[in-house]
Amino acid sequence: MLQATPVKLKADSVKLNYYNDRTKRDLSVLDGIDFSVNEGELVSIVGPSGCGKSTFLAAVDGLIAIDGGRILIDEREVTKPGPDRGLVFQQDSLFPWRTVQRNVAYGLEIQKVLSKEEITARARKFVELVGLAGFEDSYPRELSGGMRQRVNIARALAVDPELLLLDEPFAALDAQTRELMQFELLRILDRAQKTGVFITHQIDEAIFLSNRVVVFSARPAKVKEIVEIDLPKERTLDLKHTPRFMEIFRHIWRLIEEESARMGLLRVH
């Protein structure tokens, strides 16, 4: 850390409860999440299933209100969705009645900052950036899963957010497409110069994409460990087979295994 990179996102002991209709009690989902993401970084969050990763991301986007602590973006507290964040949803959140071009233009149309011509031009630019030039007038159902996720990413990027939030964007893709999309994401983020928070179930995906991996504990989630990924910056497929990669993988896997076991014990209780 020779030069201090500005902190883009800071989670400061974030707490969040869900009201459970059946038990009539509040269920603690997030129990003091603390970590920060520096500008230009891609940080992944992994953790046992159901630990509250997606809930945390929705809170960062401002879709869910938190019950304690603070979420800061550029030192401003998050209270509602805003143009400084772009959320990439899981598959099939594209509007089926809009073409690729108009899906990508959606956020800009809502914001009403740019003129019609500017919106068209800007949307076209991002369709090209994600490698879908020529598909502007196709509808989502006419595209493959991988192509749809490219549109999804382009839609989030088009509003020029400072922070890109990706909620398991590749979960529904087949293994091959998934690996391709991982490279694509790195390329796109690099070209667009964005900071990103990435949620995934795949440990290798998290390591491959990220500067750091935040491991969440079982619910109620805390940060169990933050793993620095000290791999070469140039990411290649071979990287996934290096001893160091494997070592990190095993380390994170053990952390998650511990947590999953703990959750299993809780269930028996």
Partner: protein, 277 residues
């Protein structure tokens, strides 16, 4: 270069050789349907001509055509068409004006739905024909009662389909819109409405069928003019040719209008996830 042209000339059959065959293949369904229809009409005509049945009861295609032609020629059909057309436009138009906005409100606002659903379900379950005596008392035997019965026939399919369309909007779409900071108006215009359009069109198509039934039933019950009235009076006086002609007019209107709506619906097929309903 020459070899290419030579090769190209060898086995290519001329287009005309296949033209007839291609035409038959392409229009197979229409041709088969049309063929059956023509055979049936010819049989009908034949049994009448051969005196196997009494045309007083069955009429015959040629008689129906002659009657229809005569009614158009002397202009006696036009008042009936005008009246029934007016009834359809007003009754069905009112059903759209009321059904679509109310359906959208009921689909979008849970409380609104809770408030109106019992009344609407009860009215929908009631055969509208049972209401005719009341409607006649309230609106008289003139156009008013016809507008009312057609409106009541058509409004429920439109309303219920529109409600379903808005209600089944995927939660994720709403989340996306919220994430981009859409306000309520934008949410409605960019998510709820477009998602409901295919359902709405299906409702319009179903409503149209019900509206046509409303015309006939209303006019047969009591009226002074209209295609349904024509059918009813002709039936009472054993003019089967006129009855048949009236039925054909109603059926033709149904087929043409339904097909127009279907054409509009088809424009949405390109993005519709599935084409059921």
């Amino acid at each position: 270069m020459t070899s290419v042209t030579e090769e190209r000339e060898i086995p290519r059959p001329r287009k005309s050789e296949f033209a007839v065959y291609e035409f038959l293949v392409r229009h197979e369904n229409a041709l088969l349907g049309g063929f059956t229809m023509i055979v049936a009409l010819l049989l009908w005509e034949a049994v009448v001509r051969l005196d196997l049945v009494n045309p007083l009861f069955t009429s015959s295609p040629s008689r129906i055509i002659a009657t229809g032609y005569a009614m158009f020629a002397d202009g006696s059909i036009y008042p009936h068409l005008a009246i029934s057309g007016l009834e359809l436009v007003v009754g069905y138009g009112l059903a759209i004006i009321v059904g679509v906005p109310l359906g959208i409100l009921m689909g979008w606002h849970r409380r609104f739905n809770a408030a109106f659903d019992p009344i609407i379900s009860a009215l929908y379950a009631t055969p509208r024909i049972a209401l005719l005596p009341l409607i006649m008392i309230w609106f008289g035997i003139g156009l008013g009662s016809k507008f009312a019965i057609i409106f009541l026939s058509a409004v429920f399919p439109i309303l219920i389909n529109t409600t379903a369309g808005v209600q089944t909007v995927e939660r994720d779409y709403i989340k996306v819109a919220r994430s981009f900071g859409a306000n309520d108006r934008q949410m409605f215009l960019t998510v709820a409405f477009p998602a409901a359009v295919p359902f709405l069109l299906t409702g319009l198509r179903l409503g149209l069928g019900h509206a046509l039934i409303g015309i006939v039933v209303g006019e047969m019950y009591s009226a002074q003019a209209g295609v349904g009235y024509l059918i009813s009076v002709a039936g009472a006086t054993f003019q089967t040719d006129r009855v048949m002609f009236g039925i054909i007019l109603i059926a033709a209107a149904g087929v043409i209008l339904t097909n127009i709506l279907r054409m509009i619906e088809r424009r949405f097929d390109r993005w519709r996830p599935d084409n059921k309903l």
